[in-house]
């Protein structure tokens, strides 16, 4: 257990000192969403209709930005070899890295989402559900992203490759995330959609670290 904590603490410290990653992700998220009113026009009704979808799509794209560095730095400087040789199960360490990744990218996205919701005129009924759905959805993005990042280790243009691998897998998250917000705005219960998101999260929690560990073992051979 102490190894898990050490790794999370180290990744947070590294992110804190190298600084800009979390800011870049949030900056991209906000800027991208702000472009939509310019593109589709300032009609409040249209913006309210598309707000939930725009915020979710931008969150997916923003999350992709940070993925290529998830294992790349550790791979290049030899840290990954030593992690693979640690007595702790590698899947467990992957989970620690995913948690650190979520804390530095997923959490800032959740915090920024209500701001975008105001900018895009999302009806107030949808705010709480949006935050809740993102709280369930963004950890899935970190977990799925880890699989893509591990598979693309050593590849040229890894960043693009990760997005191509991972974005199709995130479609269920997008569907249920947007459906939850739409349901809340339309006055329907959002519970079923949130439960499905929760189910996706629970399925990803053991499966993604396991697949990621297998890909990492292959990468350090």
């Amino acid at each position: 257990m102490s190894g898990f904590r050490m790794l999370v603490a180290r990744d947070l410290k590294l992110a804190g000192r190298q600084g800009s990653d979390a800011l870049l992700v949030v900056g991209f998220f906000v800027l991208g969403a702000v472009l939509f009113p310019f593109a589709v026009g300032p009609d409040a009704a249209v913006l309210a209709r598309i707000a939930g979808g725009v915020i979710w799509v931008m969150a997916l794209l923003a999350a992709m930005l940070s993925l290529d560095r998830l294992f790349q730095a550790d791979y290049e400087d030899g840290t990954l070899e030593l992690l693979a040789l640690s007595p702790l199960p590698l899947g467990f360490l992957v989970l620690a890295k995913c948690l650190a990744h979520w804390l530095t990218t997923g959490l800032p996205l959740i915090i920024a989402a209500p701001l975008l919701a105001i900018l895009l005129n999302l009806p107030a009924d949808g705010f709480a559900t949006l935050v809740l759905a993102m709280a369930l959805g963004t950890p899935i993005l970190s977990l799925l992203g880890a699989v893509g990042a591990a598979l693309s280790l050593g590849a040229r243009r890894a960043g693009v490759l990760v997005s191509l691998l991972v974005l199709p897998l995130t479609v269920p998250v997008l569907i249920f995330g947007v459906a939850a917000v739409d349901a809340a705005v339309g006055g329907y219960p959002a519970g079923p959609h949130l439960m499905l998101l929760g189910a996706l999260f629970l399925a990803a929690l053991p499966l993604c670290p396991w697949a990621t560990a297998a890909a990492l073992r292959h990468a350090v051979e």
């Binding site: 590294l14 030899g78 070899e81 040789l85 640690s86």
Partner: protein
């Protein structure tokens, strides 16, 4: 019989068979020096011994138990120092070492301090590791050996970038480690004094030219 031993080890990289029929037995306190030209499989052998790379054939065992049966136990007793130093430039020297000491077992601050002192980098403990020279980074990577408390050290060219005085220091640290029953496998081109070390000449295990790799592994 508590040897760390290999029998009939073979290694394949891609389509190429690098070595085969490799055997050794390393008792407690023993050292094994790998010799051979570039590409003869010294690094690959060390990676197989660490468990990073599965052998194409043959078995490794510790005290008679195959390592493949208990990989976690094996990883717990070894520490591997490869070509890469795994030093994070933004962390301080001390933080770098603390992290690896804590990954293995309950963090022992005293062991971290001692390991830094032993390799002569205490003065740099609170400096970010990006200010270290190549040799100092190497010393930090080697200091992990002391902080890890491992029983088996696998060293791949440990003397690269080290000055003569540090090599002598390393020889002393290795001698102490072996006196306490530690085992060592090291590949090196530099002369490093290891009394009573077994030598393994990798050239003797290279497959004959022109043999099909698939056949060779079976022979």
């Amino acid at each position: 019989m508590s040897d760390f031993s290999a029998s009939g080890l073979a290694c394949r990289r891609g389509e190429r068979l690098v070595f085969r029929h490799l055997d050794f037995a390393l008792p407690a306190g023993g050292a094994l020096v790998l010799r051979g030209p570039n590409g003869s499989g010294k690094s690959s052998l060390l990676r197989i011994l660490s468990g990073l790379l599965p052998p194409a054939a043959g078995t490794l065992s510790w005290g008679g138990t195959p390592i493949a049966d208990e990989p976690e136990l094996h990883r717990d007793r070894l520490h591997y120092v490869g070509h890469l130093d795994a030093v994070k430039p933004t962390l301080t020297v001390r933080e770098n070492l603390r992290f690896w000491a804590g990954m293995r077992e309950a963090l022992d601050e005293q062991a971290v301090t001692d390991a830094l002192a032993r390799f002569g980098i205490s003065a740099l403990a609170n400096a970010p590791a990006r200010f270290l020279s190549a040799g100092q980074k190497r010393r930090l990577a080697l200091a992990r050996l002391l902080a890890s408390g491992a029983d088996l050290w696998l060293l791949d060219e440990p003397t690269v970038a080290l000055d003569a005085a540090t090599i002598v220091l390393l020889e002393g640290i290795i001698a102490e480690f072996r006196a306490e029953g530690g085992r060592l496998v090291v590949s090196t081109h530099a002369p490093i004094a290891l009394p009573d070390a077994q030598r393994l000449d990798m050239a003797g295990y290279a497959p004959a030219q022109g043999t099909l790799p698939v056949l060779e592994a079976l022979l």
